[in-house]
Every structure is written in structure tokens, then in C-alpha cells.
């Protein structure tokens, strides 16, 4: 066993830390994390990350990467997370779409997209969920019909979060609607230009102020060259990518700044002449958060290690997902309790503690146990894949 990092990995982390301390402002971090839309500052930051050689280390050399192990990308995510930057600025492309194109896409698709993803130039939005296909994703009904050189797509997606600022839609649609085959076997993945005629994006505003979208397709033509891998294999491509996506998206390190902010707050805030940090209840809440953060970190490290070494990862990344998202809720709830009466105040209010970060996170945290699969689906997956319990549905 070895829980340390190599000298090269440490050197990379140090170089990266220096860069991020200078370049990653809270404004940029929030543009991405709060899904308000990656604006010019975050786009510039993305290009700079690439220009300084911090993007693409774990990607193959032939597409502009450096051919190093996935550990480097995980270090990048951890260091961004520590500074409120939840992920790389254009993260859907970098952490979800890119790897599947690399694994399953044809050579043309790889050449067209991978170098631009690695250079931090383009972003994708995920086009999976539909009004009637949430946890039961394979029941999606949006339809693509083969018209020779292209497909014609009609239907609706919902909760497609980055669509208002992405160049491309990473779209899963039904290409085979035969009711006699398994619904998992009729889904195909496409890369669709977001400025294609016939696409309408409507905002859905969430309780935390984040924006997500409904997306409507009306006779949208998508060239066959934009089909990912084989026809009707899309659902399997989505599933095989899931573990890695969880490893890249559910990064315990991103909870560290919340805890750090709370620690600072309780040290600086006095009640009856005594700092809140001396209150046993407060101490225990924060200590418990710290314990759980240590546990989340080692759980994530374990599933990352499995991925990095191409070892079977049946349920471990699901544990990382469920644990980290629920930890976020527990941590933020503890934070709100510690801030007490003042916890309800939002950014911009005169008396707001911790710049409103905790109250924003409180609102946000309702989503973490739902997005990318609910905790309930996650627990069933863990029980079935991890322990071999029989499926009930």
C-alpha cells in the first residue's frame, strides 16, 4: 500500500497551486460552479489553464495531451475544488464527453473535438434527461430518424444545464423505437451544433439561482458523421462512462472551502465575549464534517485508483457519489445551524455571514443528491452491483 504522491505529481501540484492562487478568482470559480454561464473571464481562464499546460496531461499525445496517468487530472480537480472552482471551466466536454469520444468515437470525431477540448476552447451540454425519462433514463422518447446522410431529430429534453453557453449538445436519442426490443438497445449518441436550425433553448431557473434549460428539437438535421460510435449503442456508452464521470464530478476537495469558511467564521465570531469556536456543539459539528471529509477523500481516492489502473469499478464510484453528495448536505446543514439566525441572509445583505456562500450552498445542496442520479437509485446500484442483491424492477 502507498497513500502518497510521486515527486512528479507533487511538483505538478505545486506548480498548479501557484498558478491557481494567482489566476483563479472567486468570480471565475463561481461562473462555472453556479452555472450562471461561463462568461468571458472563465473562458479566458480556461484557455490560460491550457496554455500553461495544466489541461490534458492525462490525455493521449496524438490529440494534444501528454499521455500521463489520470492522477494528474484528479490533482487538477482537487486543487480547483479547494479554491471554490468545482471543476475545469468547460467541464462537460473535459470530463464526460471527451473520454467517451476517445473510447468510442470514430477517428474524424476524435480529430475534430479532442484537441479543442484539451485546449479548453469548447463546451458541451448533456442531453439526457426528458420529462418522462429521469431515473428511468432508458425510457427516453426523443426521436432521431435516419434520412440517409443525416438524421432528423424531434422532441424535448429537460434539465440540460449548460445549453445556454455551450457550443455542442451531447445528445442521447431514440433511433430504434421497436417495442419488441429492450428500450436500452435503441439509443444513439450524437454531437449536435447548438446553433443548428430548429433548436430552442428555454431557461429553467432553479431555487439556488442556477440556470438549467428545457431544449426543444423541431426537425433538426444532424449529419451522420456526428453520430458517436455505433448506432443503438448509446445507452451502453453512457453507462460505461458513468464511473469515471462520478470520479471526476464528485470531488470531495470542493467541500473543503465550505469547512474552511465555517472555521474562520467561528473563530472570528464572539458570543458573550467568547468565540463560537469554543462552543462544544460547534466544535463537534465541524469536527464531524472534517471526519466525513477525510472519509470521502479516501473513498474517492480508492475509486480513482481503480479507474487509473483499469481495475473493475462496479460500485465504488457510486459510493463516492452518494457519500460525497450527502456529505455536502450534512456539512451545509451544520453550517446553517452554526450561523443560526443569520444563516438565512443572502449575498448582498448587510449582515450576511461568510459572503453568503453558506446560504447559497444550502439552496444548492438540495440538488446534489438528485443530479446525476438520485441517492436512491445509487443505493440500489450499490446493493445490486456491490453485494449481488436481486433486482426488484
Amino acid at each position: 500500500m502507498d497513500f502518497g504522491f510521486t515527486k512528479d505529481e507533487q511538483a505538478f501540484r505545486e506548480r498548479l497551486s501557484d498558478f491557481l492562487d494567482k489566476e483563479l478568482t472567486e468570480e471565475i470559480a463561481r461562473q462555472n460552479w453556479e452555472d450562471l454561464g461561463v462568461k468571458s473571464e472563465a473562458r479566458e481562464f480556461s484557455l490560460k489553464l491550457a496554455a500553461y499546460g495544466f489541461l490534458g496531461l492525462s490525455w493521449p499525445k496524438e490529440y494534444g495531451g501528454q499521455g500521463l496517468p489520470p492522477t494528474y487530472d484528479f490533482i487538477l480537480l482537487d486543487e480547483l475544488g479547494k479554491r471554490w472552482g468545482a471543476h475545469v471551466p468547460l467541464d462537460v466536454g473535459y470530463t464526460m464527453v471527451g473520454p467517451t469520444i476517445l473510447r468510442r468515437g470514430g477517428e474524424d470525431l476524435k480529430k475534430e473535438f479532442l484537441p479543442r477540448i484539451i485546449n479548453g476552447e469548447i463546451e458541451f451540454c448533456l442531453g439526457y434527461t426528458e420529462p418522462n425519462a429521469g431515473s428511468d433514463l432508458a425510457s427516453m422518447g426523443m426521436r432521431a430518424v435516419d434520412e440517409g446522410d443525416y438524421f432528423v431529430i424531434n422532441g424535448q429534453k429537460t434539465f440540460n444545464t449548460e445549453c445556454h453557453y455551450s457550443e455542442y449538445h451531447w445528445l442521447a436519442v431514440r433511433t430504434d423505437a421497436d417495442p419488441n426490443i429492450s428500450k436500452h438497445k435503441g439509443i444513439t449518441l450524437f454531437v449536435v451544433d447548438m446553433d443548428s436550425p430548429g433548436i430552442t433553448v428555454r431557461p429553467l431557473w432553479t431555487m439556488s439561482g442556477e440556470r438549467t434549460n428545457e431544449v426543444y428539437y423541431e426537425d433538426v438535421k444532424v449529419p451522420k458523421s456526428r453520430m458517436v460510435g455505433e448506432e443503438n449503442k448509446g445507452f451502453y456508452y453512457m453507462m460505461e462512462a458513468l464511473g469515471s464521470e462520478r470520479n471526476q464530478v464528485f470531488v470531495p476537495g470542493r467541500l473543503a472551502p465550505i469547512l474552511d469558511d465555517l472555521i474562520q467564521y467561528v473563530k472570528e465570531t464572539e458570543v458573550d465575549g467568547k468565540p463560537l469556536s469554543k462552543d462544544p456543539l460547534v466544535r463537534h459539528k465541524l469536527a464531524q464534517a472534517s471526519i466525513e471529509l477525510e472519509v470521502a477523500t479516501v473513498l474517492a481516492d480508492h475509486s480513482r485508483w481503480l479507474e487509473s489502473n483499469d481495475l473493475p469499478m462496479a460500485y465504488q464510484a457510486e459510493i463516492t457519489k452518494v457519500f460525497t453528495s450527502e456529505l455536502e448536505q450534512r456539512l451545509v446543514n451544520s453550517g446553517m445551524e452554526i450561523l443560526g439566525l443569520f444563516s438565512q441572509l443572502m449575498e448582498g445583505s448587510k449582515w450576511v455571514p461568510s459572503r453568503g456562500r453558506i446560504s447559497w450552498y444550502f439552496l444548492h445542496s438540495f440538488m446534489t443528491t438528485i443530479g446525476a442520479g438520485t441517492s436512491e437509485v445509487g443505493r440500489s446500484v450499490i446493493a445490486q452491483r456491490g453485494l449481488g442483491l436481486p433486482r426488484a424492477y
Binding site: 469536527a287 479516501v298 473513498l299 442483491l389
Partner: protein, 378 residues
Amino acid sequence: MDFHFTEEQRILQKTARDFLQAECPSSFVLEMEDDEKGYTQELWNKMAELGWMALVIPEEYDGVGGNLVDLVVMLEEMGRFCLPGPFFSTVVLGCLGIMEAGSEEQMRTFLPKIGAGELVLTMAISEPQNRKYDPFRVGVKAEAKENDFIINGTKLFVPDAHVSDYIICTARTSGDQRSKEGVTLFVVSSKSPGIHMTPMKTLAGDKQFEVDFKEVSVPNDHVLGQIDQGGEILEKILQKGAICKCAEMLGGSQKVLEIATEYAKEREQFGRPIGSFQAVQHHCSNMLMDIEGSRYITYKVAWLLGEGIPCTKQVSAAKAWTSEGYKRVAGLGHQIMGATGYIIEHDMPLYSRRAKIAELALGDAGYHRDVIAKELGL
């Protein structure tokens, strides 16, 4: 980073599991709860023959030269089978204690004999006034008198004292009762005149004792480390002890999960296995999540401690998490087993009772949260 066991560790794990499977069935564990001694010499000797007591002792003292992760692998198996007897007291509290601070002469005196299974050791920490666990709050006094120290006072919750040859006893040689400074560690012969032991009846039937020291004389050369400097040594021993306790708990909780999962697959109600119901599946996945967290934080901290990397916060995180995790796992195990698991001959009560004992040993989650709060600068 590498989460793999070494080949030697895999062999160790398998050997330990096979041996304990054969030698330590749950009927034996239950029987030993009512036995005054609490284990059999025969089993102890067999373990010694396998070299288990010598596992972490350096080769120069006739040991195997293993590291803390090796010991964790071994203890995980012992926790899995609820092994009765003074292995933990001897090898973790006693042997690691002497290895931490013993003089060359003490090492030569004790380690080879411990390794050979010829000595049983234990450690005396808690006292009657410590209603809240605090190993550094030491009231038992040791006073210098010519070439000896004279120890007076009462220690509680001393594991396996009745079968021990030596007790590593914390005693105050100077300073305030609450101060970490002024604590000294003594290796006291358990047969010394003035020592009186009374069993403390616990809910797991393990063997813990009240040990009264009345004018107990300990020679100068039985001081472990420096006089008044025992607090620092104690902290190091207890950190290793805590992670070793985590290993035991990990093994126990893994076994509970296996018992419950197997039952959930076989037991049918409403015409189908109860393990197909989501409520039961989610109980099982909660157990697995708790255990995976306990597992990797235990391995990680054992590695950190073995490498000598400071990790006070992580040690406490591991003990707090694993203590509460084992308790939750045992609770869910009972829930899945239903009334069957409530019967004393069933395996479940072995684990749920030991989960509680282990939680309390070497600091419960509350104690360790206090340690972490300090580490966070609060």
C-alpha cells in the same frame, strides 16, 4: 498511490482467516465469555507457533519485522472472528508500547519473549475520575523512593489484566492531574505485591479489570521512556492502538455485512427474497458505504503511521468514523436479521456487543471529535 496489499499481506490474511475459521468458531467465542480466563492456552500457543505475536517485532529481537499495515491485516481477521484473549493487549498496547519507547535493555528483555508467546502484557490508562475518557488525565501517583518508584491508586478498564505478566501503567510523577506533562509510563510486573484485581462485568463478556495499586514498588529500570515525558509516548502508542482497534472493528463489520447480505438473499417473504426489496437493499448499501469508508481510512492511517507521517487528525477521524460505522452496521444487521438475530446463540449479538466495546475503547467518537476540533485550530 496503491491500494493493493502486498503478496505477503494476502498470504497473511488468508492464513489468519483459515486458521481462525477452524479454531475460533462463534460457539467458542460465546463459551469464552463465561470462562474466567477468557481464552485457551492451546489456542494462544498455536498462534505463537504461527508467529503472530512476533509479527511487528523487529528481526533483531527475533521478530518477523512486519509493519503496521501487516498488523492491521491480522487484526482485521481477528475482529472478523471476535477472537477472545489478550492478543490486542499484548501485541498492540504492550509490545508496540515497548517498541515505541523502550530502552535497548527493555527491548532485549521483553520483545523476544512477547514474540514467542511467553509473555502477556496489557496497559492501564483509565481511572475512576475519568467519567469522560481522557488518557492524559492521570491521578494514579508514582513517587520515587531510593531505586524504586511506589505506585498508588486505581486503574479501571484494564483489559486482560488477570492473565498479564506485565502492565504498562500510566502514573503521575509531577504536575497537575490534567496535565500531559508529568506523566510517566511504568512496566509493572502484574505479580507485584500490592496489586489487587477485580473483574469488571461488561456487556460483551470480555475481560476488563479494576486494578488497585497499593504501595506497589517498581524498579527504576522499568520506567518506559523518560520520567515525566510519558504523555508524548502515550499519545503515540494510543494512536497506533486506535488504528489497530479500527482494524478489528473493520473485520467485525465486514462479517456483519456478509451475514446480513446472505440472509437477505435467502430469506423469502411475500414470495420473494427480502433482499429484492429496496428498503433492505438500501440498508445493505448503507452498511457497505460505512465499511468501505472504514476500510480505506484505516489502511491509509496505518500506512501514514507506519511511514512516520504526522496524522493526528486522520487517526481520530478513523477511530470516530469506524466506531460509529461499526455501530450503525451492527444495528442494520440486526434490523435485516429480524428476531432471529436477537437470539444470544446467533452470531449477530457477538458483533453488536463488541461494536459497543470497541467504540468505547481508546476514545469514542466524541473524544476524537474533540481532538479533531483542536487540530482544526478551534
